[in-house]
Amino acid sequence: MTARIPGAGPFANDSRARAQDAWELLLGMGQAFRRMPERVAPSRAVPLTLICGFLGAGKTTLVNRLLAAPGGNRIAVVVNDFGAVGIDTALVRGRSATTIDLANGCICCALSGSLANTLADLLARPDRPDVVVIEASGVAEPQGIAQLALAHRGLRLSGIVTLADAETLDVHLADPVLRPTVARQIAGADIVLLNKADLAGWDAVTAARGAIAGLAPRARVVETIRADVPADVVLGVGSRSVFVAESEPAPHRNVFTSFAFESDTPLDDVQLCAVMGDLPASVIRAKGIVLAASDRSRRFILQVVGRRWSLEPDEPWTGPPRSEIVAIAVNQDAEVARGVLARLKRCEIGAQVDG
């Protein structure tokens, strides 16, 4: 059963419904503005991940995985209603009408009133979450939800992750009623988890990849089985500098790796952004603190997911100024990683003289 997060009507072809959506977005943004008027430095903002996907693609499986193994983070997941999520009761420490508290510090929160108020309430808790996830069931316009969330200054968008069902994607895209919804969910994605890769077969997976490439050329695509993927891929958090994780044995075995770049030399802003905007497809995410040539008095926060990147000024340096960038890649060979690191090295001030 799909339920609806308000403010994201599923029938975007109807002008009146779109007007209602746009209107509710404005009202929601107004609520968010009122609840959170102060500016927040990017490093203090709580990352937000939107999980979208059509019915049956595996969103619930993914959410349960994240809640069961959050990798040391306090995750708050916002859902339409608890019935759809089915959290393992062994993990539950306490319940109220709208919140389920897990023993590991995570929270599952049912939408209470408006999304803007639910998010504001979450961030006002004394035990503020490290990460917020919105499980956007049946939503045709993920960007509308993201935008409403971003009106809250305490949040920053970490990524829009869409789950696609490799078995049924072609059928859904061929259906004139379903296509607009499914296409929009994929087009809005930074990362597409092509799920049920084991059940779909090689041909279906290849065809699905082709369709996704057409709809979202710069989204990163990861084939998954039972939505098994490291939390960092979905949430974009964690500062482990090197890790290796593998998915379940399957025709498509994923090897996730991370690599890091460090430098004491200031990096040229424009060059850095050019590199970040043009990373190889195997690099899913990158994140870091940057010593930027444009302003060496403060840290800059770099965030990259799929095709999106931003380099934002943060607070003044407290320790020795240096850049530390970590990237997560899937099925990447070492040569490609070395290439990225070399390109980053050439961003150092003074590097152009040699290069």
Binding site: P6, P10, A12, S15, R16, R18, A22, L27
Partner: protein
């Protein structure tokens, strides 16, 4: 016999072509006499002789060719929550409610540019930014860019947000206000081929960056008070003299109170306002002391601005397709959203208010939700039986005749948003819950048959329908769908008289104001709606087209 003191000012006798009193005793008369803001007598100059012989009076023939009715009452609006957005200048491709009534649809780029030019010309302060929304690049000629918007104004900052996806378009003056330079490093801050910023903010991070001027505008301290004045004008143009805000205190109770005091208690403000606090906000702030706090609010009330009741929200909304329905749910197999309070805890949460005699307004759009609020009412009656409690089901969009019967048996009443029958029901038939429920949206006929008191409201402006009670009457009587011809569930139509009661005396009843408002009878406030024609006399299909001169509030004329 003692003689009384003379009234503060002369009696005014308003004469009109017709005076429709909504009092069944004397439904149509020729004149209404007003003393000290209240109705002294209705009838003719001759019938009023016992008064007019004793006290000085003047005759006011301003309405000699018009029709006087009791001031219309919309018992469920949201001026506070939506007002500050309504004057954001809608420039979209469909008709939409705005401060002046319905904004026309703008179908071409030309029309949009004309509208923007007019808006720019109409703003007295040359530095104030112009904000607009609802733009649809797919229908209205593609994306804006900075150079094009500079042609509207090279000096006034302009900020436009589109329909989904919600891009932001700005001109040079707004780019400058943002502090954005060509060197900015945020993905999605768009550029011309030569590298110059083109005024478009098209990706998440860019849009988040571009929200600041909008945020500042929305948070401007006087904005809410300005909005209340603007909406007072909107109400006046619709013949409305009293309304109730059904979500008071949703952000900051005392701040909202100060804003309302400033606006509504000004003698020139043309509307009586009832404030109904939102229970979820009160509960968050006051916990176990909530009912006591709400009861104490009566000390702040007067005839123009008052507190009354408490509001519970129990499901989503009709247009957002988030209301809760019974078997078989929506066409896609899904269902809507509940409110904050779990339904099985609703009666417990309501009881402190019920016990204190505070009237409960329970929002319920779908029939499954109506079951829940009826169950809560039954439970309250079991614990402590009450008469004349006026437990009101708000919206009542999707219901059954059996529910109307139970509502009657439990002593409850209904406040119905019936505008949707015209504006939304056909779309919902095809895309939300199918024909059976959609066609029978707003079952006023069933409520009438069961003898339930009901009012009509617009929810202005949380949903995209106008604040215009004559339109609600037109919908109630005709039930014509958006296509202009289909009659939706004809058996649920009601007569003109019952529909007119629902925007006057019965609406006053819902708000517990019928002692003083809702009909033209001696002793009630002299609040009138002044129309060019009588809704009882015109072709029923023309009721919503009747021109409205304005209103009279406590005997003072308020031309539209």
């Amino acid at each position: 016999m003692d003689t009384r003191a003379a009234p503060a000012s002369p009696i005014t006798v308003f004469r009109a072509r017709r005076v429709v009193t909504m009092d069944p005793a004397r439904p149509v008369v020729e004149a209404v006499a007003v003393m000290d803001g209240r109705i002294l007598s209705v009838g003719t100059l001759a019938s009023m002789k016992p008064w007019l012989d004793r006290y000085p009076y003047e005759i006011d023939d301003t309405f000699a060719d018009r029709v006087i009715l009791p001031g219309f009452i919309d018992p469920h609006t949201h001026f506070g929550m939506s007002g500050s957005f309504l004057n954001l200048n809608y420039i979209g491709p469909i008709e939409s409610p705005g401060p002046g009534g319905m904004n026309p649809a703008l179908l071409t780029r030309e029309e949009v540019m004309d509208a923007l030019r007019r808006l720019d010309a109409a703003m007295p302060d040359a530095d104030r930014p112009l904000f607009a929304w609802g733009f649809d690049p797919a229908i209205q000629g593609g994306h804006f860019d900075r150079d094009e918007l500079d042609r509207i104004s090279p000096t006034r900052p302009i900020w436009i947000i589109s329909y989904a996806p919600h891009f932001v378009y700005t001109n040079s003056a707004m780019i400058e206000r943002l502090g954005a330079t060509d060197q900015i490093n945020i993905h999605g801050v768009d550029r011309y081929p030569d590298g110059r910023l083109n005024g478009r903010f098209i990706e998440m991070a860019a849009i988040q960056y571009a929200l600041d001027p909008f945020r500042e505008e929305v948070m401007r301290p006087d904005r809410n008070v300005e909005a209340l004045w603007m909406l007072g004008g909107t109400a006046k143009r619709a013949g409305v003299t009293a309304t109730a805000d059904l979500a008071f205190g949703f952000t900051d109770f005392e701040q909202e109170w100060r804003e309302h005091e400033r606006a509504v208690r000004d003698p020139a403000y043309p509307l009586r306002m009832t404030l109904i606090p939102m229970e979820s906000a009160i509960h968050k702030a006051h916990g176990a002391g909530s009912a006591r706090f709400v009861k104490s609010l009566v000390s702040r009330s007067d005839d123009k601005l008052r507190f009354h009741g408490i509001k519970f929200i129990n499901d989503g909304s009709y247009p957002a397709m988030s209301l809760m329905v019974r078997f078989p749910g929506y066409l896609d197999g899904g269902n809507g959203l509940r409110g904050d309070v779990p339904w099985d805890e609703l009666a417990d949460r309501m009881f402190p208010y019920w016990e204190s005699g505070i009237q409960i307004h329970a929002h319920a759009n779908g029939d499954e939700t109506i079951d829940a609020v009826l169950a809560a009412l039954a439970s309250l009656q079991e614990r402590k039986p009450r008469f004349d409690h006026r437990y009101t089901i708000e919206h009542y969009c999707i219901s059954t005749p059996e529910q109307a019967r139970r509502l009657k048996a439990l002593g409850g009443v209904a406040s119905v948003n019936n505008y949707f029958v015209h504006y939304r029901s056909q779309i919902h038939s095809e895309q939300a819950f199918g024909p059976d429920r959609s066609e029978a949206t707003a079952r006023l006929g069933s409520l009438e048959r069961e003898g339930v008191v009901f009012a009509l409201h617009s929810d202005f402006s949380l949903v995209v329908v106008p604040l215009h009670p004559l339109t609600a009457v037109w919908v109630a009587v005709n039930r014509i769908a958006a296509d202009g011809e289909t009659v939706m569930a004809p058996g649920e139509r009601i007569g003109v008289e019952r529909a007119m009661r629902a925007i006057t005396i019965d609406a006053a009843h819902i708000l517990r104001l019928d002692r003083d408002l809702g009909s033209l009878e001696v002793g009630k406030f002299a609040d009138f709606a002044i129309l060019d024609e009588d809704p009882f006399e015109v072709e029923p299909t023309r009721i919503r087209d009747i021109a409205i001169w304005g209103t009279v509030l406590a005997g003072v004329k308020q031309p539209a």
